[in-house]
């Protein structure tokens, strides 16, 4: 079995990179990519901790449901981005400052 700490360090790095991308990028699609990265960082931790008790598959089930939620989030998020681009002609989240047109 590979050392558990390395999985956890990788998960921490991926989560921090996702956080930086979500805060700094001025594009809605790039923000969605950052959120995907953060969800996968949590998956790394779940799969890594599942190694401690391999007869029970709880961590892997949790990772599976996280993947399902990530898919739903990506689909609805990209539909929202397309809709906003169609209505406001921009994909920069900072420029969306009114509720109705």
């Amino acid at each position: 079995m590979f050392p558990l700490q390395h999985f956890l360090y990788l998960g921490a790095l991926l989560f921090s990179v996702g956080l930086i991308i979500v805060i700094t990028k001025r594009n809605a699609i790039m923000v969605l990519l950052g959120i995907e990265l953060m969800l996968n960082a949590s998956n790394v931790n779940l799969v890594a901790f599942n190694q401690l008790n391999p007869s029970a598959l709880d961590g892997q089930f949790f990772a599976l449901f996280v993947i399902i939620v990530a898919v739903s989030e990506a689909a609805v998020g990209l539909a929202l981005v397309l809709r906003v681009y169609h209505d406001y002609k921009t994909s920069v989240p900072d420029e969306l400052n009114e509720l109705k047109d």
Binding site: L19, T24, I29, M30, V47, A75
Partner: protein, 170 residues
């Protein structure tokens, strides 16, 4: 075991490098490709962590589904002017400060922890996938059904949100 160690550290460094270079990239298309590189390297790591089903699901869903959807989104929201979509940065100082301090905090607490690893406990390789299916249909049947309903709701919601205005006015 030496080869396995090499593959483990290679996949880990590929995932980390592609994720970090996503910060510095300015083209959204390259960002999507780097994300897929990172996720496929993570799928390899899941195989090494005895989670074969999660690895296959990761490749199927991300490389087959989310990559196509994201590239469609990039191409539909880029200007027609022909030049590539360039992303500008905002809040650089605060974002980097938040991310790096969070990373430092996590590494500080993780390096202080000692997780006791039962090195003798090996998973049953021939029964892993079998057990996965049995568990999914017995103990985890309620989350499984709720996940199905969630996917249906997300599908309908995405279709409703992205339908155009003109068809609504007719």
């Amino acid at each position: 075991m030496n080869l396995l160690n090499f593959i483990f550290y290679f996949l880990e460094s590929v995932a980390a490098l592609s994720a970090v270079s996503m910060i510095f990239i300015r083209n959204v298309f390259y960002g999507a490709l780097l994300l897929i590189t990172c996720l496929i390297a993570l799928a390899g790591l899941y195989v090494l962590a005895f989670a074969e089903f999660i690895a296959v699901t990761q490749i199927l869903i991300y490389a087959g589904g989310i990559l196509v959807v994201i590239i469609f989104g990039i191409m539909l929201t880029s200007k027609i002017s022909g030049k590539p979509l360039v992303v500008e940065h905002a809040n650089l100082f605060s974002g980097t400060l938040a991310g790096l301090s969070f990373l430092g905090l996590l590494i500080y607490f993780l390096s202080a922890q000692k997780f006791n690893v039962f090195s003798t406990a090996k998973p049953l390789p021939e029964a892993s996938l079998h057990t996965f299916g049995i568990e999914l249909m017995s103990d985890f049947i309620l989350p499984f059904e709720i996940a199905g309903i969630l996917l249906l709701i997300a599908l309908i919601g995405a279709a409703v949100i992205s339908s155009s205005i003109k068809s609504k006015k007719v």
